[in-house]
């Protein structure tokens, strides 16, 4: 069996196959695969015996359920008011500059995807961002460069987007 099929079957075994298990199952796939591919959505529909269109319609409603290929790390920079006031753009520029990608893009080595997101709930420590599920707050261009360097080092990348 295809590894995605196995993953989805296992998730369905854990969460059940009723419609209300759809979110946990999709979240489980995203946790492992980083996004929901066409194939994984079809498999989810098959496993749960629900229409594929419904899986797609539900997935696209939630901003954390990506349906496009993303990198190993998804960076989500908060763009809502306080973060915007406290230097979100400078942070964003620093990231774009360092990773050589624009908003919405993925580095060629598939390590990082850069996105903006709505209020992360860290307004008192703005600006904030998520890298996958981890939160980083009170960001400055310097701080964000340091954070990304650690990720790059861990993954043996020289930071130009190519291995």
């Amino acid at each position: 069996m295809d590894p995605i099929q196995t993953l989805i079957k296992d998730l369905a075994d854990i969460h059940g196959r009723k419609r209300e298990s759809l979110l946990p199952i999709m979240q489980g796939v995203v946790e492992r695969e980083k996004y929901l591919s066409e194939l994984s959505m079809i498999e989810i529909a098959r496993e749960m015996d629900i229409p594929a269109a419904d899986v797609y319609g539900t997935a696209t409603f939630y901003s954390f359920l990506e349906t496009k290929s993303t990198g190993k790390y998804t960076i989500r920079v908060c763009k809502t008011i306080t973060c915007a006031m406290k230097g979100k753009n400078q942070v964003l520029f620093a990231i774009q500059d360092m990773l050589k990608i624009k908003l919405g893009e993925t580095t060629p080595d598939h390590l990082f995807t850069l996105l903006e997101t709505n209020c992360l709930g860290w307004c008192h420590k703005a600006p904030a961002m998520l890298i996958n599920d981890d939160v980083y707050t009170e960001l400055t261009p310097e701080k964000v460069r340091e954070i990304l360097s650690v990720y790059l080092k861990q993954n043996g990348s020289n930071g130009n987007g190519y291995h």
Binding site: L22, L23, T58, F61, Y62, I81, M85, T117, C123
Partner: protein, 394 residues
């Protein structure tokens, strides 16, 4: 409001109390009816922003006939400028669980869910650890109540209670038609109590210390304390538990940076109050007899004179345009029109009078949108455009 220039700081919510087991076991010795009466007499109102009387909500659910009922803790905190629920769940989660279990006891629900927003996923593991402990104790005292964590996945609208239930049922988080209300037909179509995280913690306080202690705090129609998430142009951003009823003037005196131009009360869906109205504005629920009364889920964002109110409004509207579920016309199209409209006025493509057309549009949105999201876009829009009209135009 007394011009005391003093805010009454209180410490109930985060007070570290290691006696939740006792609170739980003692509380469920009382009859559900007594507990409901206690809660009603505290005059606690929902702390998510809408301010529905909590006691009444529990009472309605308790009275609803069904062999299956649910208690849901709404931890889909997404309103720009609030972060109190995250803090509660990371610091005193057992208070939330205890309150949910008591609610289960009162209403007859045997299952509870915490709907945790995807942005707070890092809390999940710790919460589940505490839950294990909690389950163990419930077993011990033979309380049939089981709490689970349900993760959201990034959708502000799921904070709307019926959208949240749709989401829990595996669907798009689109608000339902009301009636029926969740107390009659909620999660899985069953009677459901859904409360904000903070509301539940207040019930913990009430059950532990009695309704009077709570009632004695705050002012008429706005009893008790409230957590405020303070951010923006302030030297001391953070979370503060304050008595309700304070004047905005006092608040700014305490938290402002000396140059506060306006305060956004209640997040992007709340009201912007300009400096000249600080002294007339009080923080609390509707029904206050004098001045402007502003309900809030606790978001207090301060802006100093370096901020352009156009940019602020632009930011809010972009937020709403993206976070609207998109199903109803006034909200889906209205949000887009408002955003494009203020930009067009700013550019000069539309005359300044177009702002009046947009104000009428927000009125329509307030009257006709299906849920609170679309209805409350009018709040920030009208309060910003009316008070800072010149900033919108020039």
């Amino acid at each position: 409001m007394a011009n005391s220039h003093q805010l009454k700081r209180v410490d109930f919510i985060f007070r570290n109390e290691n006696d939740w087991e006792k609170v739980l076991s003692n509380t469920i010795k009382k009859t559900p009816q007594d507990l409901i009466n206690e809660l009603i007499s505290s005059e606690l109102k929902g702390r998510g922003g809408a301010g529905f009387p909590t006691g009444l909500k529990w009472k309605l659910t308790a009275e609803a006939e069904s062999d299956e009922k649910y208690v849901i803790c709404n931890a889909d905190e997404g309103e720009p400028g609030t972060f109190k629920d995250r803090e509660i769940l990371s610091r005193v989660p057992y208070k939330v669980f205890t309150a949910m279990a008591i609610c289960g006891y009162i209403t007859g629900a045997r299952e509870g869910y915490i709907y945790l927003r995807g942005e707070y996923k890092f809390l999940k593991e710790e919460l589940e650890k505490v839950l294990d402990e909690f389950d163990y104790y419930c077993n011990e005292i033979k309380l049939d109540f089981k709490i689970r964590v349900f993760m959201g996945s990034g959708a502000y609208i799921c904070g709307e209670e019926t959208a949240l239930m749709e989401s829990m049922e595996g669907k798009r988080g689109e608000p339902r038609n009301k009636p029926p209300f969740p107390t009659q037909s909620g999660y899985r179509g069953k009677p459901t109590v859904i409360n904000n995280v903070e509301t539940l913690v207040h019930t913990f306080t009430i059950f532990k210390y009695g309704a009077k202690k709570f009632y004695d705090l705050g002012v008429q129609y706005s009893r008790g304390t409230k957590l405020f998430s303070v951010s923006g142009d302030t030297p001391k951003p953070g979370i503060y538990e304050l008595e309700l009823g304070m004047s905005l003037q006092d608040f700014v005196y305490e938290f402002g940076d000396g140059d506060t131009k306006a305060v956004q009360v209640g997040g992007a869906s709340g009201f912007l109050v300009p400096r000249k109205k600080f002294k007339d504005a009080a923080i609390g629920f509707k029904g206050k007899l004098t001045g402007i009364s502003l309900p809030t889920g606790g978001s207090m964002m301060l802006f100093n004179s370096s901020r352009s109110m156009f940019n602020v409004l632009d930011n809010y509207l972009e937020f709403f345009r993206e976070e609207s579920c998109g199903q109803c016309t006034p909200c889906r199209v209205g949000c887009q029109q408002l955003l494009l409209g203020i930009k067009a006025v700013k550019r000069g493509d539309k005359p300044a009078a177009y702002l009046d057309k947009l104000l009428r549009l927000t009125e329509t949105m307030q009257y006709t949108a299906k849920c609170g999201l679309g209805q409350s876009v009018a709040n920030s829009f009208s309060s910003i455009v009316e008070n800072f009209r010149e900033e919108m135009i020039y």
